[in-house]
C-alpha cells in the first residue's frame, strides 16, 4: 500500500519509513551463468515444504546425470499463491510451478503447457488425470495421491475398548463418549485453519454421489443450493460432536498444534490427511494410526475416504527451457530416482504407474480403501474460486457462535452465488 507514501511530504517521510520497513519480500533470480551450449537452470516454485529434502535429492540426482542442467528451487508455504501471482505478473514465470488441480487448472491455463501428447503422460495412472484435464487437454503433471479423513490412534481406541470403527454420526458420538470415559480427549480440532474445516465439509458433501459435474452446474445456475445437499448439512452435527469431545480452544489450534496433540496421544482423532504422517512420526515414531471411513450421517455405507490428486506441477509454456523441463518430467516417470521421489522421499503415494509403494501407515490405509473401501474425489474441485476459504470461515463463525445453523446455511448459499456471479 505504498500509496500512503504521498503523505510523507508532510515532513514525515523519514519517520514513516519505519512503518513500511516490515513489508519487504525478496526473490532472487538465478539465471544460468553464460548461455553456453546447453547450460540451463530450471527454476521451480512450489509449496509443500515437506517435499523439500526429497526434491533436492531428486534434482541433485538429475544434475549428476545431466551436468548441464541445474535447478533453482524456491519453496514457499504461507502465501504461496500471492508469490506465484506476483512472479507471473512481473513476467518472471518459473519454468515449473506448483498449483492445485481442478479450478487451478483453469485459472493458470494461459501459462501452462499442454502435455496431452507428451510420452510421459502414458506413465501416469488415469485416476490422477481427471483433475488436471481441461476441455480434453492435460495441463498439469499430477504429483501425488493424497487422502484425508479422521486419522485415529489405534492404541487409544483399543484402550477405550472400541472394537468396531464408527461409521455413522451416532456411532462416532458413542465412540467419543467411550474415550471420554477413559479420560481421553477424542478429537484434536485444528479449526484455526480454515482448510481443515473446508476439508471436513467436503467429506460430508462428497457422499451425495451421482454426477458431481451436473450437481454443481445446477448450483451454479441457481437451480439448487449448497444447503439442499442433505449430507453436506450434516456438517453441523459432525462439528458439534468434534467440539463436544474436543480439545480446548479449537479456534486457536493450528495445524502444528493439532498434529502435536494427536502425536503426543493427548487426543485420539484428528481430521487430517496423508501429508500429516511425517509430522506425526517425527514427534512420536511409535504411534500406530489409521484412517476412519469418515462418518457423515446415518448411513454407514456412505462413510469413506477422500482420495484425490491435488498437487500438480505445471510447465510454463513460454519458458525458454521448456524442452529441458519436459525431458525432466519424462525422467521423473522413467528413472529410478524420479519414480522414488514421491513414495520413498516424501512417503506419499505416487501417481506414476510402476512406482514403488511408500512404507507409510496412512498410505497403506489409503491403498486398502482404494482396493476394498469407499473413496470419494475432493469435490471442492468443482467449487468457485475462493469458496474453499470462505466456506471454512463461515464454519468458523458457526463454531464461534456468531452464526446459528440457519445463518451459516444462508451464508454458505449466498457466498457461493456471489463467487459464481463474479466469474461470469
Amino acid at each position: 500500500m505504498s500509496r500512503f507514501k504521498r503523505f510523507g511530504s508532510l515532513a514525515l517521510a523519514a519517520t514513516l519509513t519505519v512503518g513500511l520497513l516490515s513489508a519487504c519480500g525478496s526473490s532472487n533470480k538465478d539465471e544460468a551463468a553464460g548461455d553456453g551450449n546447453k547450460d540451463v537452470t530450471i527454476s521451480i516454485l512450489q509449496y509443500a515444504p515437506e517435499m523439500s529434502d526429497a526434491l533436492h535429492a531428486m534434482t541433485d540426482a538429475y544434475t549428476k546425470e545431466h551436468p548441464n542442467v541445474k535447478f533453482d528451487i524456491t519453496i514457499h508455504q504461507d502465501d504461496y499463491f500471492t508469490l506465484l501471482k506476483t512472479r507471473i505478473n512481473s513476467g518472471d514465470v518459473p519454468d515449473i510451478f506448483m498449483t492445485g488441480a481442478y479450478n487451478d487448472i483453469s485459472t493458470y491455463q494461459d501459462y501452462s503447457y499442454d502435455m496431452t501428447n507428451e510420452p510421459f503422460m502414458k506413465n501416469i495412472v488415469d485416476t490422477a488425470k481427471t483433475g488436471v484435464t481441461l476441455d480434453g487437454k492435460v495441463l498439469g503433471f499430477p504429483l501425488v495421491l493424497q487422502a484425508h479423513s479422521f486419522i485415529y490412534n489405534k492404541d487409544l481406541f483399543a484402550q477405550a475398548g472400541i472394537t468396531e470403527l464408527p461409521k455413522t454420526l451416532s456411532e462416532l458420538d458413542a465412540a467419543a463418549q467411550k474415550l471420554k470415559d477413559k479420560g481421553i480427549t477424542a478429537f484434536a480440532n485444528g479449526y484455526k485453519e480454515w482448510w481443515v474445516l473446508e476439508q471436513t465439509f467436503t467429506q460430508t458433501m462428497a457422499p451425495v454421489g451421482g454426477d458431481y459435474q451436473q450437481l454443481f452446474a445446477d448450483i451454479n445456475d441457481k437451480k439448487k443450493k449448497v444447503s439442499d445437499i442433505p449430507d453436506a448439512m450434516n456438517i453441523f452435527d459432525l462439528l458439534d460432536i468434534t467440539t463436544k469431545y474436543g480439545n480446548a480452544k479449537p479456534l486457536e489450534t493450528d495445524f502444528n498444534t493439532q498434529v502435536s496433540l494427536f502425536a503426543q496421544g493427548k487426543a485420539a482423532m484428528m481430521h487430517q490427511g496423508t501429508w500429516a504422517e511425517d509430522a506425526v512420526l517425527k514427534l512420536n515414531p511409535n504411534i500406530k494410526m489409521g484412517f476412519l471411513a469418515g462418518p457423515v450421517g446415518t448411513d454407514p455405507a456412505k462413510a469413506g475416504l477422500m482420495v484425490d490428486s491435488n498437487i500438480t506441477y505445471r510447465a510454463n509454456k513460454d519458458s525458454k527451457n521448456l524442452q529441458e523441463v519436459l525431458k525432466f518430467f519424462d525422467w521423473m516417470t522413467t528413472s529410478e530416482a524420479g519414480k522414488n521421489f514421491i513414495p520413498v522421499g516424501t512417503k506419499q503415494i505416487s501417481t506414476v504407474a510402476g512406482a514403488p509403494f511408500p512404507e507409510a501407515q496412512l498410505a497403506n490405509e489409503t491403498n486398502e480403501f482404494l482396493k476394498n473401501g469407499v473413496t470419494y474425489p475432493w469435490v471442492k474441485g468443482y467449487w468457485p474460486d475462493g469458496y474453499e476459504q470462505q466456506a471454512g470461515q463461515i464454519l468458523q463463525k458457526y463454531l464461534a457462535g456468531a452464526l446459528d445453523r440457519d445463518g451459516a446455511k444462508a451464508e454458505l448459499d449466498k457466498t457461493w452465488n456471489k463467487l459464481v456471479d463474479a466469474k461470469q
Partner: protein, 294 residues
C-alpha cells in the same frame, strides 16, 4: 531568454529533486494510475484476458458487497480505540520517562524495542503466547482469565489484536512525545509553577497545548497506521474467527489473492484510499489549527 541565474536554479532543481520525483513517480504514482484502470476491469490477476467493465465494480461494491462495509466498520472501530489507547499510553509513558529517573534511558529502550521488531514476528510470538503460553500458565496458576480463548472467541479477538498493536506501537509514539516535551522551554514551566500551576492544571494549561505539534504528528501517524492495519491481523488471526477481525486491507487482500478478483479488489482499494485521504486531511487540518507557539 531565461536569465542564467534562473536557468541555474532550474538545473539545481532538476538535479536534486528530479531523481526523487522520478522514483516516486515510478514506484507510487504510476501503480496508482494503473490501479485506476484495473479498478474498472474484470481480471483474476493471472489470466492474459482483461475485460474492461467500466464502473460495474464500483456499483457492486456499493450495492451488493457483504464484506466491505463490515470490514470498514471494523477498521473504524479498531482505529478509534487504537488511536486513543496508543496516544494516551504514549503520553503517560513520555511524561514518566522525561522525569530525571536513573533508569529512564533503559526504560525508553525497553518500551521502544517492540517497535523495531517486524510486525510479522510479533504476530507469531503473540499467537504463541495467547494460545499455548496462556494455557500453560493456566495449568500452573488456575487463574480463570488465562483459560479464555483470546484469539478464538469473537468478543476477545478484537481486544487481543488491539492490545498487541498498542504494545507494539506505543514506544514509537512515546519517543515523539518525549521529543516534544523536551522542546518545551524550562522558563515556561518555571513561570507556570511560580504562578501556582501544578499537576493536572499545569498539564492541561501548559504542557498539552505546547505539545500540540507532536500531537499532530503522532495522531496523524497512528490514524494512518490504524486505518491500514494489515500485518498484525494477518499473522495473529487472519481476520478470524470467521471474519470478525477482518480489516479493510485484509478484505482487499482476500478479494485479490483468495477470491482471485483482482479488478474488483483494486476498486475496493481505490475507495479505501479516498476514505483514508479524507480522514487524514481533515485530521491534520484540525490539529494544525490547534497548535500554539511557545
Amino acid at each position: 531568454m531565461v536569465g542564467s541565474k534562473s536557468r541555474k536554479r532550474l538545473l539545481e532543481l532538476l538535479v536534486f529533486a528530479g531523481p526523487a520525483v522520478l522514483l516516486i513517480f515510478i514506484a507510487a504514482e504510476l501503480p496508482f494510475l494503473m490501479s485506476i484502470y484495473y479498478s474498472m476491469t474484470k481480471w483474476n490477476g493471472i489470466s492474459k484476458h482483461i475485460t474492461f467493465t467500466g464502473l460495474r465494480n464500483f456499483r457492486e461494491l456499493f450495492t451488493d458487497d457483504s464484506t466491505f462495509f463490515p470490514s470498514l466498520w471494523f477498521t473504524f472501530k479498531y482505529t478509534f480505540f487504537n488511536v486513543i489507547a496508543t496516544n494516551v499510553a504514549a503520553i503517560l509513558l513520555a511524561l514518566g520517562l522525561s522525569k530525571a529517573l536513573k533508569t529512564a534511558n533503559v526504560l525508553r529502550a525497553v518500551f521502544f524495542v517492540p517497535n523495531i521488531v517486524s510486525l510479522v514476528v510479533i504476530g507469531f510470538v503473540w499467537k504463541f503466547i495467547f494460545s499455548l503460553g496462556t494455557t500453560s500458565l493456566y495449568e500452573a496458576t488456575g487463574w480463570g482469565f488465562l483459560e479464555w480463548s483470546w484469539l478464538g472467541s469473537i468478543k476477545l479477538a478484537f481486544s487481543s489484536v488491539l492490545m498487541v498493536s498498542v504494545w507494539q506501537a506505543v514506544g514509537f509514539y512515546m519517543m515523539i512525545y518525549i521529543t516534544g516535551l523536551s522542546s518545551i522551554p524550562d522558563d515556561i514551566n518555571e513561570a507556570a509553577e511560580l504562578d501556582g500551576a501544578r499537576g493536572f492544571r499545569k498539564f492541561f494549561a501548559i504542557t498539552l497545548p505546547l505539545l500540540m505539534p507532536s500531537f499532530t504528528v503522532a495522531m496523524f501517524m497512528s490514524l494512518a497506521n490504524s486505518l491500514k492495519v494489515f500485518d498484525i491481523i494477518y499473522t495473529l488471526t487472519f481476520g478470524g474467527p470467521g471474519d470478525s477481525t477482518r480489516s479493510l486491507s485484509l478484505d482487499i487482500y482476500t478479494e485479490a489473492f483468495v477470491n482471485n478478483r483482482y479488478g474488483y479488489a483494486t476498486a475496493k482499494s481505490i475507495v479505501f484510499v479516498l476514505i483514508v485521504l479524507i480522514i487524514t486531511v481533515v485530521q491534520v487540518k484540525f490539529f494544525k489549527s490547534k497548535e500554539v507557539e511557545a
